[in-house]
């Protein structure tokens, strides 16, 4: 054993010297080699010790300013010492380290399973308390009046658009809708923290991100009505927005598929040396799909500048997070893949803003993925096809809608800064409501996209089978005009 140990050590030594990337291996070393903090063995008696040590964050903490914890540094030093000392006693197990692909692993004679969960849940970063009072003061510098008012205005716009479009579906004017109620802060504040160069890979409950980027109410309405000015040419269900000019990839219903795609897009930004990242949004349910795991692992290995923004809203249709995963949410998965992560109060716009801003800076500067888990709640039904009172208690919905409302909380902060008042509020809401109604009316008057759009874009050019099918279809329409809707120009 001792001989093998020495040999592997020599190999790793060589690898480290030739790799020229000591910082990466340092992170790994710490992660692999450090005695596990705050993770007591199953049914362990040493709980007091573990809990007392590093609180509240049980893992090494990173920020853009301070890349390594002192603990990581110390441990690294000790590993180096052990390694360079030729007289190291191979029989002293605690002093031994195994050079293993990926970095040194310390030996221990204590059989210790890593616990299935940490003592305490990972804390949730917030800036505003429930009353919109700022807990620490370093944030207002980042969010000035202009930005704050724009953020608040867009949150309200999102609320009203959702409410009116939802109602339009109920009236049978559009076939489907899905609101972001309760998640306005994640939508708007995360968007505000990005730049227009950053590429967005959405799930489907992120219309606020697109709104922030300047997609107009008219453009939203056009998509939901699938009319001839819908960029998607009426081919997809409502809410499947996409806008090339806003760097916002088109929504696809299959869950989690955008996550590994985001990594590929981020790798392209990396290779092009762009000062931009990709923001991939997804829900708690999505994290169960294979694509989520593939995406995170790829991102870490490819060192891709991508921010994974998980909207943990407690539910995936009727499935509670308890039936979705048994980890401490999503944030803890990051470390398992070698990804820096943070948990943030998704209903605190300032916290979301500063966390995503910081994440963006790290993703681009350090060329690495970052995982942001935003804790929130899906206040609305899953969609217009769902009645969520069938599977969750009303008071739970009420609590999140009233007591934890992200828009109200942010409003209190903006008002406290004297940037907003009741008069502006009434004016804004009336104004937006009118605009949304107008957008719907206008969208409704447009006819549908022309029939030729049925066959276009399957490929870059029309292949012969589609040529043939198009002309056959046109003959059929001539024979049976009554079979076909009048609002589609033939």
């Amino acid at each position: 054993m001792a001989t093998w140990l020495r040999r592997t050590r020599a190999v790793a030594h060589y690898l480290r010297r030739s790799s020229g990337r000591p910082s990466t291996s340092r992170v790994v070393l710490d992660r692999q080699g450090a005695p596990l903090p705050a993770v007591p063995p199953l049914g362990s008696v040493g709980i007091g010790r573990a809990a007392g040590r590093i609180s509240p964050a049980p893992f090494p903490v990173f920020s853009a300013k301070r890349l390594e914890s002192t603990r990581a540094e110390k441990h690294l030093a000790s590993v180096h010492e052990a390694e360079d000392d030729d007289t190291v006693d191979d029989d002293d197990d605690d002093a031994q380290v195994l050079d293993f692909p990926g970095g040194k692993v310390a030996f221990t004679s204590r059989m210790q399973f890593i616990a299935e969960s940490a003592e305490e849940r990972v804390p949730c970063y917030r800036v505003l308390d429930d009353y919109g009072q700022q807990i620490e003061n370093d944030c207002s510098a980042q969010v000035n009046e202009e930005l704050a008012v724009k953020m608040y205005t867009d949150m309200v716009t999102l609320q009203i658009m959702d409410a009116v479009f939802f109602e339009a579906q109920r009236q049978g004017r559009i076939s489907f809708y899905l609101t972001s109620m309760g998640e306005e802060a994640i939508n708007i504040a995360s968007a505000a923290a990005l730049t227009d160069d950053d590429v967005v890979m959405p799930q489907y409950r992120e219309q606020g991100v697109l709104l922030w980027r300047g997609f107009t109410l008219q453009e939203f309405a056009n998509q939901c009505f699938g009319n001839k000015v819908d960029y998607g040419k009426g081919r997809q269900m409502p809410i499947h927005y996409g806008s090339n000019k806003h760097n916002y990839f088109t929504v696809s219903s299959p869950i989690a598929t955008q996550i590994p795609q985001a990594v590929g897009a981020a790798y392209s930004l990396k290779m092009d040396k762009r000062s931009a990242c990709v923001a991939a949004y997804f829900g708690d349910g999505s994290t169960s799909e294979g694509d989520f795991h593939a995406g995170l692992n790829f991102a870490a290995v490819m060192e891709a500048p991508v921010i994974f923004i998980c909207r943990n809203n407690g539910w995936a249709i009727s499935t509670h997070t308890r039936e979705q995963f048994r980890s401490d949410g999503i944030v803890v998965r990051g470390q398992a893949y070698g990804i820096r992560s943070i948990r943030v109060d998704g209903n605190d716009a300032l916290a979301v803003y500063s966390a995503v801003r910081e994440a963006r800076e790290m993703a681009i500067k350090d060329q690495m993925p970052i995982l942001v888990e935003a804790l929130t709640y899906r206040v609305g039904h899953h969609s217009t096809s769902d009645d969520s009172t069938k599977y969750r208690p009303m008071d739970e919905i009420e609590y999140w809608k009233m007591s934890r409302n992200p828009v109200n909380r942010f409003r209190k902060w903006v008002e406290r800064n004297m940037w907003w008042d009741d008069k502006k509020e009434v004016e804004l809401r009336n104004n937006i409501r009118k605009q949304v109604l107008q957008a719907i009316q206008t969208a409704e008057t447009y006819e549908k996209p022309p029939l030729s759009d049925l066959f276009r874009d399957v490929y870059d050019t029309l292949p012969s089978n589609l040529h043939e099918q198009e002309s056959q279809l046109r003959e059929t329409i001539e024979r049976h005009p009554k079979d076909y809707p009048l609002d589609v120009p033939v």
Binding site: R235, G285, E323, D453
Partner: protein, 367 residues
């Protein structure tokens, strides 16, 4: 996303499709099999397809303590309400929500089945079955063969709602049956009506082979017919002539049969006698019934919602041409979906409508 989508059918399509009331040979056969009489048959309650599925699942769980029903959102009754009441009645140990992961659902189902259980896995929409493709194609389908029959996962049944609903767009409308018909080792079954759905689903659950069972979600609430209340099964790999005729054979399955039957009725007015066959099991399929019919009529038309190219109609056409070349009086006609993704606003143009079929019937007969 379009959960409970079937509750609101597209205005156009809903109004153009009459309530399905296939003169159900299934109900009669089932009644006969249990010594029931015609009188008994009329006492059977009318059920829609969704409730018929629900009844079959109740029976499956009730009659075999080693049976399980699971999938995304099945606990509270499923987004289409097909699993309502099951968790309450049989407990969370046997009827449960899974994490949102189709490969997990099917892989889990294979393992469960391999240990001698009946695993009834639900994929929320057939459009979302693809993450599970590897588990179905490389695992479930080859489990028996690759082990020299030491192991099998025959207890696995995968249910998935498929097909158009009028407003489902790309990802709530697809008919992916042909992908699975290319996979030796699994069976593919699609029912056309409530009583068929109940009997076929029970057969699938009890069949010692892994099966993909596609449910026509368009018909969940639209199709209503008498469904025998008791436990019965219908044979797999047996097609059924649901309408006899002499001039042309028409083959279809699932929801498309209702459109085809309308075309038959219209053709009848023009003096064309159509024989309509419900294939029911697409893999392995009943060539003999189709062949016998085509030998009689000399003409064949196949219709399905999936894109025409590489659809299962191609397989039927090739097989029948091989067997009946000299009996055919006209080329085989295929009236199917277009070779495009399933479109939202263009859905009425994409679909193989009654009049497209009727035109093809006429041109085939007048060839």
């Amino acid at each position: 996303m379009a959960t409970s989508a079937a509750q609101r059918f597209g205005r156009r399509l809903a109004s153009s499709v009459p309530r399905r009331r296939f003169s159900s040979s299934a109900a009669a056969a089932a009644a006969a099999a249990t010594g029931g009489s015609a009188v008994q048959r009329t006492q059977n309650p009318s059920l829609n397809l969704c409730s018929a599925i629900n009844q079959a699942l109740h029976i499956a769980l009730d009659t075999d303590p080693r049976s399980y029903v699971f999938g995304e959102d099945v606990s509270f009754g499923g987004v289409f309400r097909c699993t309502v009441g099951l968790a309450d009645r049989f407990g969370k140990g046997r009827v449960f929500n899974t994490p949102l992961c189709e490969q997990g659902i099917v892989g889990f189902g294979i393992g469960l089945a391999a240990m001698g259980n009946r695993a009834v896995a639900e994929i929320q929409f057939a459009d979302y079955i693809f993450p599970a493709f590897d588990q179905i194609v490389n695992e479930a389908a080859k489990f028996r063969y690759r082990s020299g029959n030491q192991f099998n996962c025959g207890g696995l049944t995968i249910r998935a709602p498929y097909g158009a609903v009028g407003h489902g767009g790309h990802y709530h409308s697809q008919s992916p049956e042909a992908f699975f018909c290319h996979v030796p080792g699994i069976k593919v079954v699609i029912p056309r009506s409530p009583s068929q759905a109940k009997g076929l689903l029970l057969s699938c659950i009890r069949d010692p082979n892994p099966i993909v069972f596609f449910e026509p979600k368009w018909l969940y609430r639209l199709a209503v017919e008498e469904v025998p209340e008791h436990d019965y099964t219908l044979p797999l790999s047996e097609a059924e002539v649901i309408r006899e005729g002499t001039d042309i054979t028409m083959v279809g399955w699932g929801a498309q049969l209702s459109v085809m039957e309308e075309a038959c009725l219209d053709a009848e007015n023009d003096g064309i006698s159509c024989e309509l066959i419900d294939l029911k099991t697409l893999l392995p399929w009943d060539k003999e019934t189709v062949e016998a019919s085509v030998r009689k009529t000399g003409r064949l038309l196949i219709s399905h919602e999936a894109p025409v190219t590489g659809g299962f109609g191609a397989e039927i056409s090739a097989s029948i041409v091989e067997r009946c070349f000299l009996r055919l009086q006209a080329p085989v006609a295929r009236i199917c979906g277009l070779d495009t993704p399933f479109p939202l606003v263009f859905e009425p143009f994409y679909l193989p409508t009654k009049n497209k079929i009727l035109d093809a019937i006429k041109s085939t007969v007048n060839y």
